[in-house]
Amino acid sequence: MKISTGEYIVRETVLSLKRNSWMAFASIGTVAVSLFVLGMFLILVLNMNRMVASLESQVEISVYVLDEVSEAELRTLEERIASMQGIQSVKLIDKEKAMERFRERLGDQQFLLDALGDNNPLPNSFEVRVIQPDMVRTAAEAIRELPGVETAKYGQDVVEHLFDITRLVRLFGLALMFVLALATLFIISNTIRLTVFARRKEVAIMKYVGATDWFIRWPFLLEGIVLGCFGGVVAALALRGVYRVIAVKIYDTLAFFPLIPENPFLHYVTAAILVCGMFIGALGSTISLKKFLDA
């Protein structure tokens, strides 16, 4: 492309945005709102994913050992588990320790244990941690097969429940993002349609004198991209602000909550929003122009 053509395209784009400034303003605003909500869901879903992952990684496998296993056999079993694939740590909780913990948990209701006398019905057990959360299931299944192991449990229910919720949020988020992307597309393509309409005479003359489709298309394409980009910038700035405020609030009250750190997460989100805005902008103007250029 020639320099003078580049100049022409930029000049035409700026002119057109100025001429339809209120329309441009309105569409940038709407695009910004859509992209903001879109970004919120993106952030929410990503954070939930992370939360699930971190909860999963904290999940322990409780391995209950049969009563007939001897002290020595217990040591061997511990070593065997520790040497298995993907195991991070193995900690023995013997009967006494288990009872101690149980007492603690009962607090002032310890009298309930009086009936037991000196009997300790609790089994020996191991607390096993895995290196990666997705290894929990396989590790638990393998441990269950070992001789002397009665059963191996982990927080299946909690994790699976959480999975369900995330899946739901993700699904809902995706659907909403899709709808919002469509809405954004609609808004931009309508704005461009108006611009094209305002300049239909010019475009007709351009065609008569032999301008190529791409030459005609560029200023409109650029206009769509600029609208999408500006909308994206506004949305990204708002998202960054909101995320910081929320992050501070959460650290103050729920320090354990594993919120994704701002850096570089927010940069990625910003980039995604901008790319998304520009892409939708380009697509929107392409749609509006298609009918016009084909005519």
Binding site: Y8, Y208, V209, G210, A211, T212, D213
Partner: protein, 228 residues
């Protein structure tokens, strides 16, 4: 320059605008297309720059196969042609100079060349001193001269005009015809659809008469031949 064989045009609504038309026009000719309103003149003209695609037949314009060409080649066909309409079709927010230069800008001509060519064609149509005016500040004849300047600024081999004097009074029409004569004298082929009996009769050029989509007459030094 133009080779039209068995060309027919049926519009989507079923209207048969041209019916097996055969025309050959050589380089450098000056041809009038005459006929009553609705005869098919505009359809004929608009096929030449592929604004209307023929339904059947073959059409070669300026060495290019108009019917079988790629969509993407249409701009290049049009760069070899200059098109003029009855209603001028100028851009109201551009000056005379800008309107003419526009035709060069959009085909990415170098800037220095634009300046030079625009001045040259404004001389040809006699509007050098009005270069700063907007179309609304010009008479109909002057506006049409701007349109002609725009049509010829890229040195087309063929100029196509659809009733260019249709909105002009006789004196002004003659000014326009003088310009066409001069352009033609430089070797540019001219095809002009018109209603104007006076002009056709006194120019004594080739006349192709269309009636209901058929060519009914094709004479080398013809006359209008109708009373309307």
């Amino acid at each position: 320059m133009i080779d039209m064989k068995d060309i027919s045009k049926v519009y989507e609504n079923g209207a048969m605008a041209l019916d097996h038309v055969n025309v050959h026009i050589d380089k450098g000719e000056f041809v009038f297309i005459v006929g009553a309103s609705g005869a098919g003149k505009s359809t004929f003209i608009r096929m030449l720059f592929r604004e209307v695609l023929p339904s059947a037949g073959s059409l070669i314009v300026n060495g290019q196969d108009v019917i079988h060409m790629d969509r993407s080649d249409v701009p290049y066909l049009r760069r070899g042609l200059g098109v003029i309409f009855q209603d001028y079709r100028l851009l109201p927010d551009k000056t005379v100079t800008e309107n003419v230069a526009f035709a060069m800008q959009v085909i990415e001509a170098p800037r220095r060349k634009i300046q030079h060519s625009v001045n040259a064609v404004l001389d040809i149509v006699g509007l050098r001193d009005k270069y700063k005016c907007f179309p609304s500040q010009l008479s109909g004849g002057e506006q049409q001269r701007v349109a002609i300047a725009r049509a010829i600024v890229n040195h087309p081999a063929l100029v196509i005009a659809d009733e260019p004097t249709g909105n002009l009074d006789p004196d002004t029409s003659w000014d326009i015809m003088d310009i066409f004569k001069r352009i033609n004298a430089d070797g540019t082929t001219i095809v002009m659809a018109t209603h104007d009996k006076g002009i056709v009769d006194s120019m004594k050029r080739r006349v192709i008469a269309i009636e209901d989509g058929h060519i009914v007459r094709d004479e080398a030094q013809g006359v209008y031949g109708y009373e309307d």
